[in-house]
Symmetry: C2
Subunit: 183 residues, 2 copies
């Protein structure tokens, strides 16, 4: 990642110690994580003619001032590379009728064909903007941390579109779920 | 936090830069974040006779090896202090019939009365274990990062209980939501 970060500040690092106690097995970990419900997002970036995106659920609010979110991206991925190079990324919080887009960006469709699904525009920054989402945000990277396998990018939100007419797509127990209607 | 961290390694820090572009206003930020659906968790810790807990939605999977999650806790809170002092915490991923517990630990009930709600046991570590959840985990802190307003704790999962008979409580658009039944 060193050369990829050259256009930008070097990331911080979180030094993870080895646990002193035995940890749970992989199937127990997966079972516990799958019990948790999370919104499904597509994180995207663009540099020149290259657009890339990936389906993620590891995204959370980090701070209100400045408005900042945190997203975890595979450190070996081209997406992490492009985010580091451009210093920005965009987020599409998928609506519950956008499962096909979630599947495509999770790997079911080849990287260069993924943007054929759904209707895409662009933020003023040039990063991709998906239409028809529950919410969409354009972010400027204001900090990053490498954890060994992932990079955590802190993104200040420079543009946002939110609708209240669509409900978010949820991932839980290894499948897509919808929110129940509220009474 | 310096003395609180004395029993333990010093946390890493994420240097957040100021954004170079204007960011969205607080109401736009809140609207975008509220469109996202998140599981509702109660994060707890215990030291001696003191038990403390807080409702959080900022929690995500960090790594599979070792199985690790990441949770964001207000840096000024007694909970962050206790987690740093003990080097551990526990997580209850609330089931959708545990809204009263979510409300209590979000601040509706005074700190010392919160554990009167729900049925509580303890993990072998001594950290509180809530029964009747969608999933419950006990974590050993293997890394931490201060971001200014929050501490991100990386917790390796040393114990976990998961049920498939309960669905998680979701927070979205400023209210509790349930997952729709799958067909």
């Amino acid at each position: 990642m060193t050369s990829a970060m050259a256009d930008f500040d070097l990331p911080d690092a979180m030094r993870l110690r080895l646990p002193t106690r035995p940890v749970v097995g992989n199937s127990e970990f997966r079972a516990a994580m799958s019990a948790i419900g999370s919104s499904v997002h597509v994180v995207t970036a663009r540099r020149g003619d290259e657009r890339i995106g990936r389906t993620v659920t590891s995204l959370m609010s980090l701070a209100a001032e400045p408005p900042t979110l945190l997203v975890s991206i595979d450190i070996m991925s081209r997406l992490a590379d492009l985010i580091a190079k451009t210093g920005g990324f965009s987020v599409a919080a998928l609506a519950d009728n956008q499962q096909a887009i979630a599947d495509a960006f999770a790997g079911r469709v080849k990287a260069h064909e993924r943007f054929n699904l759904g209707e895409w525009s662009a933020w003023p920054s040039g990063h991709p903007m998906l239409l028809g989402t529950a919410a969409a945000m354009d972010c400027e990277v204001i900090g990053s941390i490498e954890t060994g396998t992932h990079v955590l990018f802190a993104g200040a939100i420079v543009d946002a579109e939110t609708t209240t007419s669509r409900t978010p797509l949820i991932w839980q127990r290894h499948g897509y779920r919808q929110l129940a209607d509220t009474e």
